[in-house]
């Protein structure tokens, strides 16, 4: 059966006699080994560099949006202009439009310039007032409408500076670019420098970024994420309220009750495929079914919430089933053994033990939903919305925006100041995501069980 004629001496293989010296071939092979290893290290380095580049790019562009240039002026609320009748009737005061407030700001600006001794050649009163955002008049008007009794007083108002002035102090606008710019002149910037030295203009933390609604193309300095954060919060609420119970219920059925048959196979295949369907297809679904067929309003958090719910369900179902699977059968057997029904053993024993895993999966699903953009574009969330949605549940049907969509919206605007805002908004979004992921990690660490 075996052939022993071939002896190993016939194999004319050059073999080093000693193990202590490396032959040429081994050296070559070791060099190839080192090269391969280096390629791996380079691949890791590329990924890490990409992450660093991404973060540096976003932080570099966006961190400055957390500070905003403000001009603090002493504004005299002139009764002669705001309330000619003098009876403080809100209906009559409301008739004065923002144009009626502009002269007050202009006058206040002049006073401030004189006080600071910052008079600058080539800047007239109107141009000096141009350092202040157009939004200031609207802010002032809102204040007067809310407090008509303050008319006649002189009040200290912090106002937003014009986006170009803000950009100048952040290094985005230079004297050279201002010379070519219709909206700002180098002289105005010189004035801004003097006012800053005098303390009239200062940089402050930009609370408006978190609270203010979106603003028009010409007022990037006033644009904020208020409506978007609220809209995203509403959608997350809807996703949580719908996706968690439905996802957990579906998982319990599939994992604990479902017989092995065609129907449950179909459901399983469906779930794994839905997890991989491109998100934009869910947007088309939302547009066709929820808006065109059911007739829900466009741009509403309810539609966004429903679409994101459908998108998040597979994630939650997959996580929940993994958590249920991790509960050892002995727990179920123990409950059944003392006479509990199957439903009781699951509801009283298995589900509580699986809860941390379910919660972790849900938070991760929510984090995905929070960052999702494409489907929301299709259901009209990209619309320009300045009004805050009302309180839930009616507010779910009001138009709103969403954090990632607001980012996209801002990148489509002309003024480069919006790029700063968009990057700032991304930082806010990433902070939310980080917080959610940290909560998920803490939950997992805290409740992780080893059976």
């Amino acid at each position: 059966m075996t052939d022993l004629t071939a002896s190993p001496a016939n194999a004319a293989a050059p073999r080093p006699s000693s193990l202590l010296t490396l032959d040429a071939r081994t050296k070559r092979r070791n060099a190839a080994e080192a090269r391969f290893r280096m390629m791996g290290a380079i691949a890791v380095a590329i990924a890490v560099l990409a992450l660093v580049g991404l973060l540096v790019s976003i932080l570099g562009n966006g961190l400055s949006s957390f500070r905003q240039t403000h001009v603090t002026l002493e504004v005299f609320l002139d009764p002669a202009k705001l309330d000619k009748a003098g009876d403080r009737d809100p209906a009559k005061i409301a008739k004065v439009t923002t144009f009626g407030y502009a002269p007050l700001i202009q006058a206040a600006m002049q006073t401030a310039i004189e006080k600071a001794g910052a008079t600058t050649e080539g800047v007239n009163a109107k141009q000096a007032a141009g350092l202040i955002s157009d939004e200031a008049a609207a802010t002032l008007r809102r204040f007067v409408m809310a407090h008509p009794e303050r008319i006649g007083e002189t009040l200290s108002f912090p106002m937003l500076a014009n986006g170009r002035v803000d950009g100048y102090f952040k290094g985005r606008v230079t004297m050279e670019s201002a010379a070519l710019d219709r909206n700002i002149s180098p002289e105005q910037l010189q004035l801004a420098d003097k006012l800053r030295a005098a303390g009239v203009i200062e940089m402050k933390f930009n609370w408006g970024l978190f609270t203010a609604p979106d603003a028009s193309d010409t007022r990037p300095e006033a644009a904020g994420l208020g409506v978007a954060i609220l809209g995203s919060a509403y959608m997350m609420l809807i996703v949580l309220v719908l996706a968690l119970p439905i996802g957990v219920a579906a998982s319990i059925y599939l994992e604990e009750f479902a017989p092995k048959n065609r129907w449950t196979d179909l459901i399983e295949v469906n779930i794994s495929n839905l997890a991989a369907v491109p998100s934009i297809v869910f947007g088309i679904l939302g547009l066709a079914v929820f808006i065109n067929f059911v007739g829900l309003p466009q741009s509403a958090p309810i539609v966004g919430g429903l679409v994101l719910t459908l998108m998040t369900l597979p994630t939650i179902i997959i996580a929940t089933r993994a958590a249920l699977k991790a509960v050892p059968p002995s727990i179920r057997d123990a409950a059944l053994g003392v006479g509990a029904s199957k439903m009781q053993s699951i509801m009283h024993h298995v589900l509580p033990l699986a809860a941390p895993g379910i919660l972790t999966g849900t938070i991760i699903g929510l984090a995905q939903a929070l960052g999702e953009t494409a489907p929301l574009l299709l259901i009209g969330m990209v619309a320009f919305v300045r009004e805050y949605p009302g309180a839930p549940p009616e507010g779910f049907f009001d138009p709103a925006s969403a954090l990632p969509v607001q980012v996209y919206n801002w990148t489509q605007r002309g003024d480069p100041a919006f790029i700063e805002r968009a990057s700032g908004a991304i930082i806010v979004l990433l902070i939310f995501l980080m917080a959610m992921n940290i909560i998920a990690i803490i939950l997992r660490r805290r409740f992780e069980r080893r059976w």
């Binding site: 059925y253 369907v277 088309i284």
Partner: protein, 486 residues
């Protein structure tokens, strides 16, 4: 009555039902001196479930169906003559809906009664201005049939809401009452409530199927509508994409598919080797410290939303490639390009590829490694000649999954690839993809029934088919691969 209020009332009734059911079971057991079949709380649960669930289901279904019924009935009232030249019924119906919605606001603001409204007609009152005053802006004057239709719609809606309120509350009372009347110590309350809960669980698990059905049906029906207006052969075989919102568009998918595949190809070319090498390096070579630093970094990359990648492409990668590559080489002036989108998408796919490959490489049994090392192979020889060939099917599956992601990715290409549909080989030129065009055709104020809008559904169906096919093939391959080593 608002929907939220009805739902709250039903839930309130369920709570009351629970309390009554529970106490009734206890009192019956006490008076008849018998033991209850189930714990008292199950009697309460059964009553509460019967009160709330059918009523809420009817409420949901009603909300879904009523607009459809009203819409069909009202649209029958609109004569052909009321539809403007070149317009569509759907546009008129949109006006009707808005007027009907505005009428309520008009009535409160002007203090009109139902009778006043009935006497109002399109000719006598300056409706357009008055509606504008309450925030309902209309494009044209209100014609008589439209106004009548709007009035009818409002009436039908009001009647429908009233009927819904009555039906839902009555159902809650009847079903809850029925269960309550059956409460007796012999009733198998636990079994009833458990069967009920199980039915709910089954219902929840069908949501996945309903979603898929919804996707397929909505895509298919609108795609069929599209092909009624625009020839399918043109759509699939024309090489020109040039939508005109005045009509006469050319809507060929080929340039979009080309852009999609080109961008995806660049992304995979970047992501697959790097992702694979990362998986190999981290699982076979890296020291504990390197692994503990690099792994989370790559996981972070996976958790970043695509809009962030899109912004990165728009403000950093695009300008960088334009200034350092495209312009010096004279290959283009655009900051959005196939290469921009491809590179950034590649970065996005790296963690996806590396985590899938990691699983697959770890599934190769240790005994194969030992066998190779035992023969005197170096680590890289073992990886390249034993592990990778053994893992090949799994890696192919992972690449297909990554390809399906790349094809369906939207935000990166919207912000990085450009909007011009072109058939070009130059990777530094802006091109566009299927997903970009779905977004651009479906956002903004467009007439819904035009081929320019409906083409988005045909594009969506194409995209869905492609990704579904890729996913199924990939899942089958990966599953086969796993079974091989189990």
């Amino acid at each position: 009555m608002s929907v939220g209020l009805i739902a709250l009332i039903v839930l309130g009734m369920a709570v009351v039902g629970y309390v009554i059911g529970r106490s009734r079971s206890l009192s019956l057991a006490a008076s008849q001196d018998r033991r209850l079949h189930s714990l008292p709380s199950y009697y309460g649960q059964a009553v509460a479930l019967f009160t709330a669930v059918p009523a809420l289901l009817v409420l949901g279904a009603w909300l879904f169906v009523q607009p459809i019924v009203v819409e069909t009935r009202v649209s029958e009232m609109i004569p052909e003559s009321a539809i403007p030249e070149g317009g569509a019924l759907s546009l008129v119906m949109a006006d009707v809906r808005r007027i009907a919605g505005g009428l309520d606001a008009l009535m409160t603001s002007a203090g009109l009664s139902e009778g006043d409204l009935a006497r109002m007609s399109a000719e006598t009152t300056n409706l357009r201005e008055r509606l504008g005053g309450v925030g309902v802006a209309l494009g044209s004057d209100v014609s008589a049939p439209v106004f009548e239709a709007a009035k009818a719609m409002r009436a039908a809606n009001n009647a429908g809401s009233l009927a819904m309120t009555i039906a839902v509350l009555a159902l809650a009372l009847v079903a809850g009452g029925y269960m309550l009347s059956r409460v007796s110590p012999d009733m198998r309350a636990r079994n009833i409530s458990e069967t009920f809960v199980k039915a709910l669980l089954i219902g929840a698990s069908t949501v996945a199927i309903l979603t898929t059905a919804g996707i397929v049906l909505s895509l298919l029906s609108e795609t069929i509508n599209f092909f009624r207006m625009y020839p399918a052969t043109e759509f699939f075989f024309s090489t020109v994409w040039n939508p005109q919102f005045r009509g006469g568009s050319e809507l060929g998918i080929i340039p979009l598919l080309w852009g999609t595949f080109y961008v995806s190809f660049v992304a995979l070319l970047f992501a697959v080797p790097i992702g694979l090498m990362i998986a190999i390096y981290l699982s076979e070579y890296a020291s504990k410290t390197v692994r503990s630093l690099a792994k989370p970094a790559i996981e972070v990359l996976a958790g970043i939303p695509t809009i962030v990648y899109g912004l990165f492409a728009l403000i950093t990668v695009g300008p960088l490639l334009r200034d350092w590559l495209a312009q010096p080489l004279g290959l283009g002036n655009s900051s959005s390009s196939v290469l921009t989108a491809g590179l950034v998408m590649g970065i996005m796919l790296i963690p996806f590829v590396s985590s899938l490959s990691d699983d697959i490489i770890n599934a190769v049994p240790q005994s194969l490694r030992d066998g190779s090392y035992g023969l005197g192979a170096t680590q890289s020889e073992t990886i390249r000649q034993v592990i990778l060939p053994a893992a090949l099917p799994g890696v192919v599956g992972a690449v297909l999954l990554a390809a399906s992601r790349a094809i369906g990715e939207t935000m990166i290409v919207v912000m990085g690839a450009g909007a011009a549909a072109k058939l070009s080989l130059n990777p530094l030129e802006a091109m566009t993809t299927v997903t970009v065009k779905i977004v651009s055709q479906l956002t903004g104020d467009t007439e819904f029934a035009s081929p320019e809008t409906l083409v988005a559904f045909a594009l969506g169906l194409t995209l869905f088919t492609f990704t579904l096919g890729l996913n199924i093939v990939a899942l089958v391959i990966v599953r086969k691969y796993r079974e091989q080593y189990e």
